[in-house]
């Protein structure tokens, strides 16, 4: 080895795992922490991002709601349905083929929907895909405008999250055990993955957790980080970017938080103020509340064991209530409501109600109604206006095998 090579090698040795090329300027890691603290309101300027941005953009008045739901059975075929719910009546405005639509998110300020396709092969290559649909709100139609493959082996994506600035789409590939970040271009279309993070890990269950399975990702509403649950590797991952823009190509796993062995963390819900979030564990049914502390530490603050596996959770932040849809045997489900102490994070069960739903894949609260996407149709749960607890359920659509939902 000549001197040049030796010097170069020495120079590069420490940076072996670092990013060699990023399109944002490298920034001292302390900036990352500062950004984080700012978002938490603990120093510097608070980022000007509204956690209610999405909701305010999709509500069309108290009596009208537009939902996009994705359904598929065991075959590859699937369908997106655009539903209008108005004065208690549901109308299917439009249907559109979509291959196994497992997750849907709406761009924060464009009329675009991104749909994860829970597939293992695309054009004969082992990879999943993300479809982009244009939403014409005037005519109530959807148009497929693009389909972007994920990285090789990033199969069966089941969760999408779009950054609050609308520039980055974060994908959790459940099957292939990987995170992909797709930069969203000027036209709103996702580009080829600019970040590919292959995950390794396994849990206690010999088959369910034989490898890493990132199952859910969410952007934190204020700090610029993202939080992910890995069902297979049995942990929570905190994902961060030095320059704050995930799509710029330097997202990393900033912290990992192990979960209880064999618990199977599957879904996450974040309180709108960003300090508390709740994780649903499927294999050893439970809810766990965490407080997000400075320096990306997650402090477990509340825990509740469950008899039945929680398949979907959501926050009603205004009331500090967590809802959990739980599977109870074959094709039976229930909805439980939990208060969460905003200071301590303790969880206390306050009510439950049977659901005519089967497995619930997704839930969204809007005002006094909770919308549930289930394998037995769309369910609306009327909430008590005073207590916020479930009062009454009614089926608003009998479309079967709903796996994903977004308010549009």
């Amino acid at each position: 080895m000549n001197d040049f090579t030796a010097n170069e090698a020495a120079h590069h040795q420490d940076s072996l795992i670092g990013n060699s090329e990023t399109s944002c300027a490298p920034i001292d890691s302390r900036v990352n922490r500062r950004t984080f603290l700012a978002g938490m309101g603990l120093g510097g300027a608070v980022l000007a991002l509204s956690p209610l941005h999405l909701r305010s953009s999709v509500e069309r008045g108290a009596e009208e709601l537009l939902l996009c739901i994705g359904s598929f059975g065991t075959a590859d075929a699937g369908t997106l349905h655009l539903l209008q719910i108005q004065r208690g009546k549901t109308r299917v405005l439009y249907t559109q083929p979509s291959e196994r639509p497992s997750a849907i998110v709406r761009h924060p300020f464009r009329s675009l929907l991104y749909v994860a396709n829970d597939v293992s092969l695309y054009q004969h290559q082992p990879r999943g895909t993300v479809e982009t649909f244009g939403l014409d709100q005037a005519t109530g139609t959807l148009e497929l405008v693009g389909r972007q493959p994920l990285s090789l082996s990033a199969t069966r994506p089941r969760s999408l999250a779009i950054s609050p600035d609308g520039r980055s789409l974060l994908v959790a590939a459940f099957g292939g055990g990987a995170y992909n970040v797709l930069k969203i271009d000027e036209s709103g279309l996702p580009s080829a993955p600019s970040v590919i993070l292959k995950q390794v890990g396994q849990g206690e269950h010999p088959t369910e957790q034989a490898s890493a399975h990132p199952s859910h990702v969410l952007f934190h509403p204020r700090t610029g980080i993202a939080i992910a649950a890995d069902y297979g590797a049995e942990r929570l991952d905190i994902l961060a970017s030095d320059c704050g823009e995930f799509g710029a190509g330097n997202m990393k796993v900033a912290a990992r938080i192990p979960c209880v062995a064999g618990s199977g963390p599957s879904k996450i819900a974040i309180h709108q103020d960003g300090e508390l979030f709740v994780v649903a564990h499927v294999l050893r049914p439970a809810l766990t509340a965490f407080r997000l502390a400075p320096e990306m530490r997650l402090i477990p603050v509340g825990h509740a064991s469950l008899n039945d596996a929680p398949t979907a959770i959501c926050f009603s932040s205004e009331r500090n209530i967590v809802f959990a849809a739980q599977t109870r045997g074959t094709r039976q489900a229930m909805l439980t409501a939990w208060t969460i102490d905003p200071q301590k994070g303790m969880l206390q069960r306050i009510s439950e109600i049977a659901l005519p739903a089967g497995d619930v894949a997704s839930m969204h609260p809007t005002g006094s109604t909770l919308w549930l996407a289930s394998e037995r149709g769309m369910i609306a749960v009327e909430l008590d206006p005073h207590t916020g607890t479930p009062r009454k359920t009614y089926r608003v659509s009998s479309i079967p095998d709903i796996r994903s939902m977004a308010l549009v």
């Binding site: 090329e21 290559q125 080829a192 590919i196």
Partner: protein
């Protein structure tokens, strides 16, 4: 110390390329960094860091992968093992060891000079041992001695366990025997990184070989006559070529475009005792072709490179003899033949396909080949089919279940090679070659459920060291490469056990 070549390194643009200039497909598809490792320790350290960083590792030994499995690795890391290239013994009397970065020419030289031994490996000097041996590895001595992977008695390999730890293993028939079997032919980039191939014994290096070329004039070739040449060739391997006394005979028929004026057969022979004193087997083979009045071309040196465009247009200018001068066949030191091929030429864009044949050619196959190479298609002008003799010691009973090479009944192996200079030619060459191949395996001679692919009574699928991503369009593509006798299911079990997170993957790696 591992040398790290990042994108801003002046060496990056050169080192990112493999021999197939199609890859990386674009600058963005190249890995972000290339890690040049010189020892097993460095390889293990590099792999640990790559896995911990969430990067996809691809592994390169000689850089001759036909598809994009190594050079296309966006945002990932390529581990280049070419600087780890020793060939030696473990102690004075221990197993022979070949490091993955050693190129075949150096392997032949070292084994011959140090131990008077050889490997029945490939004919291209610059092909790296790592990929070649992982996928089986065959060459001009394979009919005599079997496949290279048949001789492996242990493998040192780095795997990544479920928690992401890099595990150093020495696997053999008594230690992780399932992984050991998988390492004997399933192909590189599936289960881990092999850092050493170990052989308790190796075959003796032949003293000498006889060489010749038979040259056929396209101008004299009607479709009928061409069919007769092809079937004469195939019939030999289906019949007489199975006899043990012929196992030292290796031939390679190159079908080149008619506009080149000729096509030919390269022939190489040595007796089982490693000499070429009795050439009666060779003469018998040559005489089969006397009715077609080929020219006998003296061979000078080795089998030429099989990884470049020159193969499609070999220059036939001198040394031509009539077939009745077979006494003048050149006999040369076997070592010269082995290592004389030199490099593989400059990287060029290429596409490759393969087929194993259990039977001779049908008239329909011969007709399809004849029409293609007499057409004006640009792909016909830039391509060649190499039809290698196969079988012999490769087909000894029991090997299919000891190794990960399922094809143990074939008598010929075909390789399509097509070369062109720049990206503007990609589409037409890829489409035309694919159509030609598909047409060849469409018809009553192919199993009805496997139309378009070499599978059925007459065929035994494809060779994983000649990977062809076009085959991915067939849901049964693993059958083509691994057969229908449970090998692929076995490899999937090995994959789940030793690489549960699928750290090592490509579009054609063993799927979980």
């Amino acid at each position: 110390m591992t040398v790290v070549v990042n994108r801003n390194d002046p060496r990056f643009d050169t080192l990112k390329r493999g021999h197939n200039a199609r890859f990386p497909s674009s600058d963005a598809d190249a890995p972000d960094r290339i890690l040049l490792c010189s020892s097993p320790k460095e390889i293990a350290q590099a792999l640990r860091k790559v896995v911990a960083a969430g990067l996809r590792p691809t592994v390169r030994s000689g850089g001759h992968c036909y598809e994009d499995f190594v050079s296309n690795n966006p945002h990932g890391a390529m581990l280049d093992l070419s600087l780890y290239n020793t060939v030696d013994r473990d102690g004075e009397n221990g197993p022979y060891r070949v490091a993955p970065g050693a190129v075949l020419g150096d392997v032949y030289l070292a084994l011959y000079k140090r131990y008077d031994l050889t490997l029945p490996a490939g004919s291209c000097f610059m092909v790296g041992a790592g990929g070649h041996i992982s996928g089986g590895g065959y060459g001009f001595l394979s009919r005599l001695y079997g496949l290279t992977s048949d001789w492996i008695t242990a493998v040192d390999i780095l795997t990544v366990d479920g928690k992401g730890n890099v595990i150093e293993r020495r696997v053999d028939k008594d230690h992780d025997p399932d992984l050991f079997r998988a390492c004997r032919g399933a192909g590189g980039g599936n289960f881990g990184i092999i850092t050493s191939f170990r052989f308790d014994r190796l075959p003796p290096a032949p003293r000498e070989v006889a060489q010749a070329n038979l040259i056929f004039d396209w101008a004299t070739m009607t479709e009928d006559r061409f069919t007769q040449v092809l079937t004469s060739y195939g019939d030999y391997w289906e019949g007489r070529g199975k006899d043990r006394d012929t196992w030292g005979l290796f031939t390679l028929m190159d079908i080149t475009p008619a506009k080149r004026g000729h096509f030919g057969i390269y022939i190489q022979y040595c007796q089982p005792d490693g000499t070429a004193k009795d050439l009666s087997v060779l003469e018998e083979f040559l005489n089969r072709f006397a009715p077609f009045q080929p020219m006998l071309l003296q061979a000078h040196g080795s089998l030429v490179s099989r990884h470049g465009p020159s193969i499609a247009g070999r220059n036939i200018q001198k040394g031509q003899e009539s077939l009745n001068n077979v006494r003048d066949i050149a006999v040369r030191p076997a070592l010269d033949v082995t290592i004389g091929g030199g490099g593989s030429g400059a990287p060029t864009r290429g596409k490759y396909k393969s087929a194993y044949m259990k039977r001779s050619f049908t008239p329909a196959e011969a007709s399809t080949i004849y029409r293609f190479y007499n057409s004006d298609q640009i792909t016909a002008q830039n391509s060649v089919i190499s039809i290698d003799s196969y079988g012999g010691a490769i087909n000894r009973p029991g090997l299919a279940h000891q190794t990960a090479i399922a094809q143990r009944s074939s008598i010929m192996k075909l390789q399509w090679q097509c070369y062109w200079p720049d990206a503007s030619g990609d589409q037409v060459h890829l489409e035309q070659l694919d159509k030609f191949y598909t047409d060849l395996y469409t018809g009553s001679h192919v199993d009805p459920h496997h139309q378009g692919t070499p599978w059925g009574e007459r065929y035994e699928g494809c060779y994983m060291n000649y990977p062809d991503s076009d085959m991915l369009r067939y849901a049964y593509w693993p059958e083509l490469y691994y057969g229908r006798d449970g090998l692929y299911a076995f490899l999937q079990q090995v994959k789940r056990k030793y690489d549960p997170n699928n750290v090592f993957h490509s579009s054609m790696s063993v799927q979980e």
